[in-house]
Amino acid sequence: MPTVIFQLPDGTERKVIAASGTVLMQAAVSGGVEGIVAECGGNASCATCHVYVDSAQAELVGPPNDVEDEMLDFTAAERRPTSRLSCQIHLSDALDGLVVHVPEEQV
């Protein structure tokens, strides 16, 4: 079960132990991480689960899928090279220790 770390816009940090087989968005929501709104519940419909993957780990996490890539052009906060929709990041032990940054706004 990987541990993931959410860096919040106010500088604080939240560590969440993810259940295996879940996506990053679910880990954030279960961990009560404010700033991941996830209006559509993980259906790649809303873009309110936007995160910036820490640049050191971007390669490990990989690039967005095609639909996600298009959607990332319209997130509320600016798109950056490591932007991802957290509902499209599948967690595994390989991602233990993942650090992501939560943007200022989602909607």
């Binding site: 009560g32 559509c40 519940g41 873009a47 639909v67 052009d73 319209f74």
Partner: protein
């Protein structure tokens, strides 16, 4: 009881959760109590009609775990419902006899399903879908059902029809109106949508009323205006009715929903607010009052009221948006269309994608998309910023292209 009065929320759904999480995130530190009639933690309803749930363990739809409420000192009373409001004493009374005083009261009681008004609706094998428990019942019934009749060609009906299809059943949708999704989607987009459902194997009967459900104890037949359909499972989704009875009994203004002002306060009693499916409210995009049934509306209204109580008042003007996943069709709607708007259907950049742009007096007011989330998001960004888009602007480029161009221009400026 002499505890200080804080916020009491009636209802334990999406909107209630939004109110209480916002209150605490905004620094509100007086008591917060939530009465939630269902025995479950507040949960999301959209997944209930989009997948067949057969095992209780397979249904993880709660919004956040119980610890979320505990850590934030939110008194969540599951399985207890409010039976009366005493507005003179500013107190609510619950079924178990609890009396809790409030400084602010928020009604977030949602809606209930409109019952099916035909003989036989009480037979075994006939179900409506609103709660987790309903979803489990229907999910289990689908394990053996061969002939499924869905009454009502709205969002929930069409989502369920596609779920039943994937479970190997023969599926017929019976709709009284002359088309599917008649209230929600333009006629222009409905045509290709219907074609795709039929192509996938759903039989669609529009302009067809259901007269009776028949069978000895268990449903076996659906008698319609046109033909008799064999059925071992009937699911109906023919609309919802707001749960506004508490408000009505307490003497608050009610008109198919609790009537509230632009800050979502009851027009009768400013210490009471209503949010989500049960609220009828003004909105800058429409004349008169509207009542919306969507996750976006529940979240945004809950956030607005939470912030207002915590000290930052604002008017409700969020852009309405909605989605529905019907098998391989992702339908999304941004903005509020009215029946007189002119809709132009535009093909997307691949065969499964489509957009319908709705114009009112030549200005873009709403966008419907099929399997095109990026175009939907672009529409939301542009409509939210009230960027005027004229029919001529969309003669060639998509909204996505327009939005990218405008963003680039903003960055340069």
């Amino acid at each position: 009881m002499t505890s200080t009065a804080g916020v009491v929320v009636v209802g334990g759904g999406q909107a209630a959760f939004s109110v209480v999480s916002t209150l605490r995130a905004s620094g509100y530190d007086a008591p917060v109590t939530v009465f939630a009639a269902e025995p479950h933690l507040p949960y999301q309803r959209p997944p209930l009609s989009k997948a067949a749930h057969t095992e209780p363990d397979g249904l993880r739809v709660e919004l956040v775990p119980e610890s979320f409420y505990r850590e934030r000192n939110i008194d969540l009373r599951l399985g207890d419902h409010v039976v009366a409001l005493d507005t003179a004493a500013a107190t609510v009374v619950s079924r178990t006899g609890a009396r809790v005083p409030y400084a602010h009261l928020v009604l977030a009681t949602g809606a209930r399903n409109r019952p099916l008004p035909v003989p036989g609706a009480e037979l075994d094998g006939v179900h409506a879908l609103r709660s987790v428990d309903d979803a489990l019942t229907i999910g289990r019934a689908l394990t053996t059902a061969r002939d499924v009749v869905v009454v009502g060609g709205g969002f929930i009906g069409l989502e369920l029809a596609r779920v039943a299809l994937t479970r190997g059943a023969r599926v017929t949708v019976v709709e009284l109106a002359d088309r599917l999704l008649s209230r929600a989607v333009s006629r222009e987009l409905e045509l290709p949508l219907r074609e795709r459902h039929e192509h996938a194997g759903v039989r669609v009967l529009t302009g067809t009323g259901v007269r009776a459900l028949e069978g000895p104890g268990r449903v076996e037949r659906v008698v319609t205006d046109r033909e008799v359909l064999p059925a071992d499972l009937v699911v109906y989704g023919i609309g919802a009715i707001p749960r506004d009875d508490l408000a009505r009994e307490a003497g608050l203004a009610v008109d198919d929903g609790v009537v509230v002002d632009e800050q979502l306060r009851s027009v009768t009693d400013s210490r009471i607010s209503a949010v989500g499916d049960c609220a009828r409210h003004p909105h800058p995009n429409v004349e008169g009052l509207v009542r919306l049934e969507s996750v976006q509306n529940a979240i945004d209204q809950g956030t607005l009221v939470g912030r207002r109580i915590a000290g930052s008042p604002a008017s409700y003007e969020s852009l309405p948006w909605f989605w529905s996943d019907q098998g391989d069709l992702k339908l999304q709607i941004a903005g509020l269309r009215s029946p007189s708007d002119e809709v132009r259907l535009v093909p997307g950049d691949s065969p499964e994608r489509l957009a319908g742009y709705a114009f009112r007096d030549g200005l873009l007011v709403a966008v419907e998309t099929l399997n095109w989330p990026a175009e939907h998001l672009a529409a939301r960004r542009l409509l939210e910023r009230r960027t005027p888009i004229l029919a001529g602007d969309l003669a060639g480029p998509t909204l996505g292209a327009l939005a990218r161009a405008r963003r680039a221009a903003e960055v340069r400026a």
